[in-house]
Amino acid sequence: MIDKVVEDIDAAIADIHDGATVMIGGFGRAGQPVDLIDALLRHGAGDLTIVSNNAGNGDVGLAALLQAGKVRKMICSFPRQNDSWVFDGLYRAGEIELELVPQGNLVERIRAAGAGIPAFYSPTGVGTLLYEGVETREFGGREYVLVEALHADFALIQGYRADRLGNVQYRKTARNFGPPMATAATTTIVQVDEVVPVGDLDAESIPTPGIFVDRVVPVGWREWTPDGRYVGGLVDVNGQPVETGIDPHEGHTKATDHKPSGTEGTR
């Protein structure tokens, strides 16, 4: 019987080796697989190449991995954010290598790797600093740059729900890089709020079919996921911690009242 569920998050990432290329999903904080990243930090693998849209927020998750000196190189589109002080410091100190890729080319390189396309032509970046010296070619009178696929050894992704076959659903804009990254790594590891019995996920609505997933790690519901409404009241519209003065729990079930039920996949 197929059972991709791994309850022990440390075991789930234990084969990530020094020097590995690791894709990390997420756009800003949405979809960032924070529990997997924390496990990777505990695990201790270093000399990593990280492929991720951003280069960490605050002092947690990817930022903590960077702070610990585990990352040799970042491949990303937007390392500079208002809370990316860890990356900023390393970069200015010359302690980290950066490959800057326009976001659309970055995700298309990832998608291409997963789909067996070794290279493609893109209009994005033609005539810019980022593609100086890169081969170009005309199609229909317009100029395009040649862009190569981007593979990884591991992909770490945050999903919402999954089954033991590795079928994964996402939640809202946290989907972002999950589906393409899941296809582009030799080993794909997905943390989810909940593992559900096989057959519970609508077959018409599986952005990441199990064929792309090697391990599913249930980490428990996040504060807002049981009823789709954030009940932590801890971030403002910019994702920054605030005191709102509103009791966010009023009229809501507390997250801790929900425990993911025993699942078909883990029985």
Binding site: F27, V107, T173, G239
Partner: protein, 219 residues
């Protein structure tokens, strides 16, 4: 040439040029103001490149959902008829020319529609491009919304960009605090000059030949 209009007025001026039913991506910063000025009889569909169509306005503080953000990483809401998709699909929409309008900020726009808006080229800066280069090619019409002059008075609509380019020849219109410009094959045209601003004045200040396509307003 004392006449300048405010950011809000400019957003309203730009919003008036976006027709009913258009699919629009509003860049981070000033362009997001456009959403607040869409005439109430028009239905505009907002695209956010992190993977959503039919994005709604910011929620109140009790309804912030960390899984539902825009490209500026701010909390947003979902309108009826929304759809979520992955980044590959989202940038395919842009690169494939499916968006009707894209509104971006700019450091500089050239007379041939080159855009510079991702890097000032400063040696100390952390480079970051995000979706800027994709967005600059990512719509049938690319509108830039910016002040016409820097704080120290240098024009931002120029013969050739000095800053590193975001994209070549992609801008169709430039909305500024002094005037609205169209980048046409035959040159830069003024389609709207605000208040007492004249095309001749603009030519002098910018040092660029300008075509006068302003529509005389009554009075």
């Amino acid at each position: 040439m004392a006449t300048r209009i405010s950011r809000a007025e400019l957003a309203a001026r730009l919003a008036a040029d976006i027709p009913d039913g258009a699919v629009v991506n509003l860049g981070i910063g000033a362009p997001t103001l456009v959403a607040d000025h869409v005439p109430s009889d028009r239905e505009i569909i907002l695209h956010t490149e992190n993977g959503m169509l039919r994005m709604g306005p910011a929620p109140d503080a009790a309804h912030v959902d960390p899984d539902l953000i825009n490209a500026g990483k701010q909390a947003v809401t979902e309108l009826p008829g929304a759809s979520y998709f992955n980044q590959s699909e989202s940038f395919g929409m842009m690169r494939g020319g499916h968006l009707d309008y894209c509104v971006l900020g700019g450091f500089e726009v050239s007379a041939t529609g080159d855009l510079a808006n991702w890097s000032t080229g400063e040696p100390g800066a952390i480079p970051a491009v995000g979706g800027a280069m994709d967005l600059a090619l990512g719509a049938k019409q690319v509108f830039v919304m910016m002040d016409l002059f820097t704080k120290d008075g240098r024009p931002k609509l120029v013969a050739h960009c000095a800053y590193p380019l975001t994209a070549r020849g992609s801008v169709s219109r430039v909305y500024t605090d002094h005037a609205v410009f169209e980048i046409a094959p035959e040159g830069v045209a003024v389609v709207d000059a605000f208040g007492d601003t004249t095309v001749a004045e603009l030519e002098g200040l910018l040092g660029l030949p300008l075509i006068d396509r302003t529509t005389p307003t009554g009075g």
